[in-house]
């Protein structure tokens, strides 16, 4: 069953009187459990596609269906609820809440979902352990390294048991060793828990570990390659 399906998805921007075709009629289907890397040069439309799939942006035309819900038919509140319950985000700049500790950041989505304290505690401890963050839960983001912060961001993204995690250049600010370890962690979550990951990335390490690589250029899909 597809977790993501786009049909003739288009996003145009007006910039200084010019129309920028950030995404130009993309048809894409991603099945549940896939580990997908969107590759391409800057401006190829990777992030725009990710934003539209995540309901963070609205398409100029075309449709996006996520987890069986047509995003253009959802109200703002329903879209928020879908993001809260079904979609996790990992950003290039980590974007942790600076006033919350690592554990509080990780459990933030669970708190917003209203998960009971006992269940919440169990899930957070398990998630932090799986991501190698044991003992770091009480630290503020400013007290963590870049790699540790990005692991907390991944923990936050997956703690709420989403069907889909969208990761925009998650390794761009990390050194190659830390980046590789992080991608390995996410791949393990994909393999073990069946969480679907979609990356927008330039990183060869992500490409190497992806089950499917989609090459984009000028807002279109250039090549779609599935790997064993």
């Amino acid at each position: 069953m597809p977790i993501v399906s786009t049909h003739k998805l288009t996003r145009h921007y007006q910039q200084g009187g010019l129309t920028v075709r950030a995404l130009d009629g993309v048809d894409l289907t991603i099945e549940a459990g896939e580990f997908v890397a969107l590759m391409g040069a800057s401006g190829s439309g990777k992030t725009t596609l990710l934003n539209l799939i995540g309901g963070l942006d609205r398409p100029t035309s075309g449709t996006v269906e996520v987890d069986g819900r047509m995003l253009n038919q959802l109200s703002s509140g329903e879209l928020s609820q879908l993001r809260l319950d079904r979609i996790g985000f990992v950003f290039q700049a980590y974007n942790l809440l600076p006033v919350l500790t690592a554990q509080e950041n990780a459990e933030f989505v669970l708190l917003m979902q209203g998960v009971e304290p006992a269940e919440r505690g169990r899930r957070i401890q398990e998630t932090l352990r799986n991501l190698g963050l044991e003992g770091l839960g009480g630290r503020l983001p400013s007290e963590l390294s870049g790699g540790q912060q990005q692991r907390v961001a991944v923990a936050r993204a997956i703690a709420g048991r989403p069907a889909l995690v969208l990761a925009d250049e998650p390794t761009a600010n990390l050194d190659s060793h830390t980046g590789a370890a992080l991608v390995d962690s996410m791949r393990a979550l994909n393999d073990n828990e069946g969480i679907t990951f979609v990356f927008a990335t330039h990183d060869a390490k992500v490409e190497e570990r992806a089950k499917r690589v989609i090459w984009m250029e000028d807002g279109r899909i250039l090549r779609d390659e599935r790997r064993g």
Partner: protein, 418 residues
């Protein structure tokens, strides 16, 4: 809905942490709100003290908590509008108010002459022993002795009036004025001199006994007013009505202090209104400062709000974080402001301060009422609570626009914000 309820403590915690994030800014904002409120609390307590002193002074010297007088005297205080059978009225008032003090008074206008000069004067006729329980005029005596109740030939003069007349203790003066039917005069002997602290009053006041005034007017057992002094200004309207029932005198009107002293009540109301306007302006200026601070803190966090929207928070939840920051900031600041206000008001309530140097004399006159130079504050509890709530509310109101701004953010635009 239940998850929204469950998420509120999380958002509240986030709001509290956000306030701690830029502690210096939070402390400066808290200081602005709390010091503004403390100033307002100090002012309302000072005003309340002033109003109470003014009421007390006016009630004791000019009227009473309850006043009995001839019908029409309120509109036209003619000395000849007298209460007949005043002793009976006094007796009934004393029976109705055994804990109070009842005093009969008359007021005359006349010319006091001495061998050296003739000066117009306002003559207050009193029962000296009763008046001692009500006013502090006898404490202002600087020369001679206070009047005895049966002294129908004695007079106390204001110091300036005595100086202008050129008389000293024991010397004679003549009071001339409108009598029962025609202009009449009465020989008086100067018993004492008072110095009230007001040059105007000292140049005008003459005090005689009520018996003296009755003899002058040839109206025995009469007075212009029967004044009843009680312990409290509360509920006097009903007490006045009860006394009126007891008296059953259609020729008399029984007023409570608010009816008897309308100019004082009006002065206090106008002054209260002016103060509310002034303090509201202070509050508004503080509110603009708070609004600016909160708006600035929101603009700094736009990217963060974008992240929260991406995580699944609703725009209303983003707005509620900011409003909660206002609720917490306002609550803390208001409480601190109230405490500071109470702390700086306490010495003025307990001991007061002597403003003689600022006033240029020992006392001052406000709306025709003599006030002592020692200024006391009084706890204006309802006003303090109202202004505290207003400061809290103002802080919350200051967050509404920034909250609305944050709630209208599009996630993708907010996350691009640098």
């Amino acid at each position: 809905m239940s998850s929204v309820r469950q998420s509120s403590p999380t958002l509240l915690r986030l709001a509290a942490r956000n306030l701690q994030r830029n502690l210096r800014r939070t402390l400066i904002t808290t200081a602005a709100i709390s010091l503004g409120l403390a100033l307002i609390v100090l002012t309302v307590n000072l005003n309340e003290g002033g109003y109470k002193r003014m009421m007390h002074s006016a009630i004791s010297a000019q009227a009473g908590h309850i006043v009995v007088q001839a019908v029409g005297y309120q509109a036209d205080p003619d000395p000849l509008l007298l209460i007949d059978h005043a002793a009976e009225v006094v007796a009934k008032a004393e029976a109705r108010f055994p804990e109070g003090t009842v005093a009969a008074r008359s007021r005359l206008a006349g010319l006091i002459t001495s061998p050296n000069n003739a000066v117009g004067a306002g003559v207050l006729a009193i029962v000296p022993s009763r008046e001692r329980e009500i006013t502090d005029l006898h404490t202002k005596l600087t020369e001679g002795a206070w009047l005895e109740d049966d002294d129908e030939r004695g007079v106390i003069l204001g110091a300036e009036l005595a100086r202008r007349l050129g008389v000293t203790i024991g010397e004679k003066v003549v009071l001339m004025g409108q009598g029962k039917a025609e202009v009449t005069s009465r020989l008086l002997r100067l018993r004492g001199v008072v110095r009230t602290g007001s040059l105007e009053l000292d140049a005008n006041i003459a005090v005689v006994t009520l018996g003296c005034a009755q003899a002058f007017l040839e109206r025995p057992d009469s007075a212009n007013q029967i004044s009843v002094q009680l312990g409290s200004t509360e509920g006097t309207r009903a007490l006045a009505a009860a006394l009126a029932d007891d008296l059953q005198r259609p020729d008399l009107e029984v007023l409570d202090w608010e009816q008897a002293l309308p100019e004082i009540v009006e002065f206090i109301q106008v002054d209260r209104t002016n103060n509310v306007v002034t303090m509201s302006i202070v509050g508004f200026i503080v509110a603009i400062g708070v609004l600016n601070t909160i708006l600035m803190s929101v603009m700094e966090r736009i990217r963060e709000f974008g992240v929260l929207l991406a995580l699944g928070l609703r725009p209303s939840q983003i707005a509620s974080i900011i409003v909660m920051e206002g609720v917490l900031l306002g609550f803390g600041s208001s409480l601190i402001g109230l405490c500071i206000g109470i702390a700086i008001s306490y010495p003025l309530v307990r001991w007061g301060f002597d403003a003689a140097a600022m006033m240029g004399g020992e006392s001052m006159e406000v709306a025709g009422v003599m006030l002592d130079s020692r200024i006391f504050s009084a706890w204006a509890v309802p006003e303090m609570l109202i202004w505290t709530a207003a400061a809290w509310g103002m802080t919350i109101l200051s967050t509404l626009w920034p909250a609305r701004t944050a709630a209208t953010l599009e996630p993708v635009d907010a996350m691009r914000h640098v």
